[in-house]
C-alpha cells in the first residue's frame, strides 16, 4: 500500500524485518520441541541449537561384575563394551575420578599390582590381572563423541511415570463439558437479548458488557466459600468436576452472550419477522433459523472457550485443587516446575504435551478464531 514501486529497497527491508520477527516469535517454541525429543544426557550438557552436531561427553560407566571374568593364559580378564551397543566413539579414558582423561583410547593403562585396563575407540574394554578379580565391579571414566540422538523416551517417561497421561484425561474431562454448556446457555440468552422485547433488556445488555471485564479474582473467595458450604451440605467435598464445569460456564458466559448477541442481532430481521408472521414461536425461530445461521459465531466462541479452559490454571487450582487425582495438565506442569525444576527433558516434554492440543485446534480452526476476535472487540 505504502510502497509505490514494488521492487524498492524498502520492500526487501520489509521482507527481512518480518522474517526476523517471525524467527524471534517461533524460536522459543521450536527450541522447546527440539529439546523435548533429544536424548536427556545430551540435553543437559548442550544447547538445543547444537542438536544436530556430535557432542563430547564425560561419562562414568561401571564395568561388568568380577564374576564374569575369564582366565586367558595366566591373566584374569573382564571384557565388555562401555558404549553398550550405542554408536559413538571413545577418545579418552581413565580409572580414577581425579584423572578421568588420563589415557588415549587404545592405550593400555597400568592400574596397580600388574593390573591393566585397555579401552578401545569402539568402547571395548578389557581389565586384566595376574590374580582373580574380587569385590565390586570397577569404574571406568571416559570421554566419548556421541552422535546426535533423537528419542521419544522423554515423552514415554512423562506420560507414564510423571502422571501426564492421567492429567491429559483430566484436562479433557474438564474442557469438553465446560465448552459445550456455556454455548447452549448463552445462545438462548443472546437470542432473547437480540430479538425479544421485554423490559430491562438494555440494562441486561449493559450488565453483560460490564461483567465482561470483572476480574476473576473478585469471584474466587466468595465462590470458594460457597463451594465449601454446598459441598458440606451434600457431603461430596467442594472440589468436583461439576463444580468446575459450572464455574467455567459462569466465567465464560459474558463473552459468550456478548459475541453471540452481536452476531445474532446482525442477522437479517426480515427472516425472523416473516417466520413470526407465519406463526412460528420464538423457540421454533431459535431452533430452526437462528442456530443454523449462527454457526460461525458459535464456532468462534467454542474455540475461545476451549483454549481458555484448556489453558486455565487459576480456576483449576482453586476449584479442583492440587490433589494427584484431579490435576489438569496446566496444574501438573506447575507441579513439575516446582519438583523437577532442573530436569529439562521432563519439563520440555510435559510442556509440549500441554500445548499440542491447543496448537492443533489453533492451526486447524484459525479462521473462526480470528473472526471471533474481530467480532469481540472491533464492533
Amino acid at each position: 500500500m505504502i510502497a509505490s514501486s514494488k521492487r524498492s529497497p524498502l520492500t526487501y527491508l520489509v521482507h527481512a524485518t518480518v522474517l526476523f520477527l517471525v524467527v524471534i516469535w517461533t524460536i522459543p517454541t521450536a527450541g522447546l520441541f527440539i529439546s523435548s525429543i533429544r536424548d536427556k544426557d545430551q540435553l543437559s550438557v548442550s544447547g538445543w541449537w547444537t542438536a544436530l552436531s556430535t557432542s563430547e561427553q564425560l561419562i562414568i560407566a561401571r564395568a561388568n561384575d568380577p564374576k564374569t571374568q575369564v582366565q586367558e593364559g595366566d591373566q584374569y580378564v573382564i571384557r565388555g563394551n562401555i558404549l553398550e551397543g550405542s554408536s559413538g566413539s571413545v577418545s579418552k579414558f581413565g580409572f580414577s575420578s581425579l584423572e578421568p582423561e588420563a589415557f588415549e583410547a587404545g592405550t593400555v593403562a597400568d592400574l596397580r599390582k600388574g593390573q591393566t585396563l585397555q579401552v578401545m575407540e569402539n568402547g571395548d574394554y578389557a581389565f586384566s590381572s595376574p590374580s582373580p578379580w574380587e569385590g565390586r565391579s570397577q569404574r571406568i571414566f571416559y570421554t566419548a563423541e556421541i552422535p546426535p540422538r533423537f528419542t521419544l523416551d522423554n515423552y514415554r517417561e512423562v506420560l507414564s511415570t510423571e502422571g501426564l497421561g492421567k492429567s491429559f484425561i483430566n484436562s479433557l474431562t474438564v474442557t469438553i463439558p465446560a465448552t459445550i454448556i456455556p454455548i447452549l446457555v448463552a445462545a438462548f440468552a443472546a437470542y432473547a437479548l437480540a430479538w425479544m422485547r421485554f423490559p430491562g433488556r438494555a440494562l441486561l445488555v449493559a450488565a453483560v458488557v460490564g461483567l465482561l471485564v470483572v476480574p476473576l479474582q473478585m469471584s474466587l473467595i466468595p465462590l470458594l466459600k460457597s463451594y465449601n458450604l454446598i459441598g458440606e451440605f451434600f457431603g461430596v467435598g467442594s472440589k468436583t468436576y461439576v463444580g468446575i464445569w459450572l464455574a467455567h460456564t459462569g466465567f465464560g458466559l459474558p463473552l459468550a452472550i456478548y459475541l453471540l448477541r452481536n452476531y445474532i442481532a446482525g442477522l437479517p430481521g426480515e427472516i425472523i419477522e416473516s417466520a413470526r408472521v407465519d406463526g412460528a414461536s420464538d423457540f421454533d425461530i431459535f431452533r430452526k433459523i437462528i442456530l443454523p445461521l449462527s454457526f460461525p459465531a458459535l464456532a468462534s466462541f467454542a474455540i475461545f472457550q476451549f483454549l481458555w479452559v484448556w489453558n486455565d490454571l487459576l480456576i483449576a487450582m482453586v476449584f479442583l485443587g492440587n490433589n494427584e487425582e484431579h490435576l489438569v495438565l496446566t496444574g501438573q506442569l506447575r507441579e513439575l516446575l516446582g519438583s523437577r525444576g532442573g530436569n529439562w527433558e521432563i519439563l520440555t516434554a510435559s510442556a509440549f504435551i500441554t500445548i499440542i492440543i491447543p496448537l492443533c485446534v489453533f492451526f486447524s480452526l484459525q479462521r473462526y478464531l480470528v473472526r471471533g476476535l474481530l467480532a469481540g472487540s472491533v464492533k
Binding site: I2, S4, V14, H15, V18, L19, L21, V22, T26, P28, T29, G31, L32, S35, S44, V45, S46, G47, W49, I169, L172, I176, L184, V185, F188, Y191, A192, R201, A206, V209, G210, V213, V214, P215, Q217, M218, S219, L220, I221, K225, G250, F251, I257, A265, D282, F283, N311, D312, L313, L337, L347, S350, T354, P358, L359, V361, F363, L373, S377, V378
Partner: protein, 336 residues
Amino acid sequence: MAQLASALVTMILGVLGCAVYFYGSNILLDKIFPTKNRPAQQVASNLRIANSIRPWLFLGPAVLLLTFYLFYPVIDSIRLSFFDRSGEEFVGLSNYTWLFGSDEFFESFRNNMLWLIVVPTAATFFGLIIATMTDRIWWGNIAKSLIFMPMAISFIGASVIWKFIYDYRSGGDAQIGLLNAIVVFFGGEPQNWITIPFWNNFFLMIILVWIQTGFAMVILSAALRGIPDETIEAAVLDGANGLQIFFKIMVPQIWGTIAVVWTTITILVLKVFDIVLAMTNGQWDTQVLANQMFDWMFRGGGDFGRGAVIAIVIMVLVIPIMVWNIKRANAEMEGR
C-alpha cells in the same frame, strides 16, 4: 478410561438437561397458556402473557449463572474485605490499613504499574508494525499465523518455554539457555536473569508481550484493511512518504481500534497471575497483585479478608475501562 466414560456420560446428561429445560419449559408455557382452538379474546391475552414470560425462560439459566458466579461474588468480596481472615468477624477498615501499610503491596502495585505501561504498549506497537508489514508481502499470512501462534499456548506453558530460554548454568558449564548462550557467544558474563531485581520484571513481561502481540496484530490488521484506499492514494499524490502516510493517514484512522486493543490487553495484564507464579512466585521483587491475592487466599489456611482487599484493588483499577466499555456499547445500541 472409566473417568473419560463417566465424563462423557455426565456431559451428555448435562447437555440433554439443558436441552430438556429449554424445550420442556417452552412446551409447558404453551400448555399453560394455550393459543390453539380457543376464543380469540383468550388467545390474545394468552399470547401476550406467554410472550412476556418467554424471554425469561430463555434468559433464566444465564441470569442465574451470572448472578451466582459474577454478580453476587463481587458484592460478597466487598463485604468480606471488612471481615477477618475467616470472614466471620467484622474488623472495619483494618484490612485496608494493613494493605496500605505493607511493603509487599507497594512492591506488587509498582510492578503491576510497570506491567500496565510496558505490556500493552509493546504488544500494540509490535502488533501494529507487523500488521502493516505483513499486509504488503506475499507470505504475510504465513508470517501472521506464526506470530499469532503463542495465543494458543497457556501462560504456564509459555512460562516453561521462556524459563528454558532464561536458563542459567553456573561456573564454566555450557549454557543451555538461549539467552545466556548468546551473551556468552558475544563474550559477556552469563546471568541468572530472573533473579535480578527490577529488571527481572521485564523478562517476565516479554512472555506476555510474546503471547499478546498476535492478538493486537490480528485486530489491527483488519482495521488497516478497512482504511479507504482513496485517503492513501490522495496522500501519495500529494507527495507524502511512507512514514508520513503511516503516522498521519493510517494511524489516525484506526485510533478507535488501537484503543480497544490497548484496553483489552490492559485488563489481561491486571489479572496476570500464571506467569509470575510459574517463573518466580513473586520472589526477587516480582510480586504482582493477582499472585499476591492468590497467595493470601491459601497462605496459612487462607486469609479471606486480606485476599478480598487485594481483589478489590484490581477491581478498582478495572472500573474506568468497564465504564468506557459500557458507554461504547450503549452508543452502539442506539446506533442500530
